[in-house]
Symmetry: C2
Subunit: 263 residues, 2 copies
């Protein structure tokens, strides 16, 4: 089961990714969560201790050089486009509460244009995670699907686009949908988040005609309050967790789940 | 006067960039607004007609090839690192209500690693806009400062990091501040947005010790409602506009403004 989550910044992608990871893990599945959004902090949201100490893969300079043959930042004419990565999830994933987490980090763009070796390694790592692993992979992405391509599109069981009541998040959903079509990815669905009223729900449904809605998560001030008080937001709102459980059930009913760990 | 705006996705960077652009323009300054956040839509927020028809610079394939000597997507060993760009703001900026707008677009990362020519052109364009233009430049960025470097850091009169009451946006502010220090950029200040209470204000001040706060913008449901009703959000909240006027005054008092158009 491979789930990719996209949507405009601030709509709640990371909260959904964290809650789904937790629910899948508690249900007995092996879960690999991938933080591919440098603007997010999936480790902190998942309650990993000392998330600030996790080194993103893109900053592991000697690993990148070892695998691609090119030092990060070096303007090389050639480097390996398909570096070996299949051992990386085991070696470099952090583990907590039954969830393994890989933090991809940011592609740094410097004055010389761009640094390709990091890019090449991250791309290969996402491709491997989606194509070759028999587990639940949850990919928390930016406001696009740049980690996906034609080769990986078929492996994604569901591309979830999170929206909130607001035009910009709807525009991003349309943009992501267009990009998904371009690479042949059809399993796309919307999760509406931060709903304050029936009107919010109707606004989103009417703004996204033809889209399948996988769930409607209510706004809950308890999540904001828990965050400000530095408490776990994953347990702070019963109604939010209940709705994400419904989304989990909907995912299970539409896609083939991998074997559970203890079966 | 060169103002760069960063912060976590969803905190309100684009609203601040749009309101500041409008206030500077109404005050008689020549304003160049740069949308460097593909997850934003500065054109729509500024009320440009048909923002969906604006082609981002990164998608102008023949322009990129003409200026860099390399076709986008081509795996070239060599391309121009300093393409000619000084004529581009005049040729490719959109104009509306006295504001010129350039939409940079997204660096596309494909299966082959990365596309360098677009990157090179965008980088040169930002550098030119910050270093060589005697006008008000307002740069709406992503949750980082990747468009800036050592060469441009000194030209930025103020790097504004927008935060909201929430830990992730505070973390992003700390991260952006660290990146700014790395390139020698010291003129950094915080704008707090979406404040609902005195506690929200105190949370942000205590979470960002040592930071200078340039303004405190209240949460106003009128902005959300105007957005959902497809009305201009720039005029929807008097209290928000008033506070951004204060921020404008604070910017004028701390940095050298260019000549006004009609002086």
């Amino acid at each position: 089961m491979k789930i990719a989550i996209s949507g405009k910044g601030g709509v709640g992608k990371t909260l959904l990714a964290a809650l789904l990871s937790k629910i899948f893990a508690e249900s007995g599945y092996s879960v690999l969560a991938i933080d591919a959004d440098p603007d997010a902090n999936l480790a902190a949201t998942l309650g990993f201790p000392h998330p600030e100490k996790i080194t993103p893969i893109s900053e592991m300079r000697s690993l990148i050089e070892e695998r691609t043959g090119t030092r990060p930042g070096q303007a090389a004419s050639y480097f390996k486009l398909n570096p070996k990565v299949d051992d990386l999830p085991e070696k470099y994933a952090q583990k907590n509460d039954g969830i393994r987490l890989m933090v991809m980090g940011k592609i740094k763009r410097g004055g010389t244009g761009c640094y390709c070796p990091e890019n090449s390694l991250l791309q290969a790592l996402v491709t491997h995670s989606l194509l070759a692993r028999d587990e639940v992979v949850i990919l928390d992405m930016e406001a696009g699907i740049e980690h996906l391509g034609r080769a990986t599109a078929k492996a994604v069981d569901k591309l979830i686009v999170v929206v909130e009541p607001g035009r910009r998040s709807v525009e991003t959903a349309h943009k992501v949908s267009k990009l998904a079509q371009d690479i042949g990815l059809q399993n796309i669905a919307i999760v509406a988040n931060k709903l304050r009223s029936q009107q919010d729900r109707e606004f989103l449904i009417s703004s996204l005609p033809g889209f399948k809605f996988l769930g409607f998560i209510p706004y809950d001030q308890a999540i904001v309050d828990a965050d400000l008080a530095n408490l776990s937001i994953l347990d702070s709102s019963r109604q939010v967790v209940d709705e994400v459980r419904n989304i989990y059930q909907a995912l299970l009913s539409t896609a083939k789940a991998p074997s559970k760990i203890n079966q």
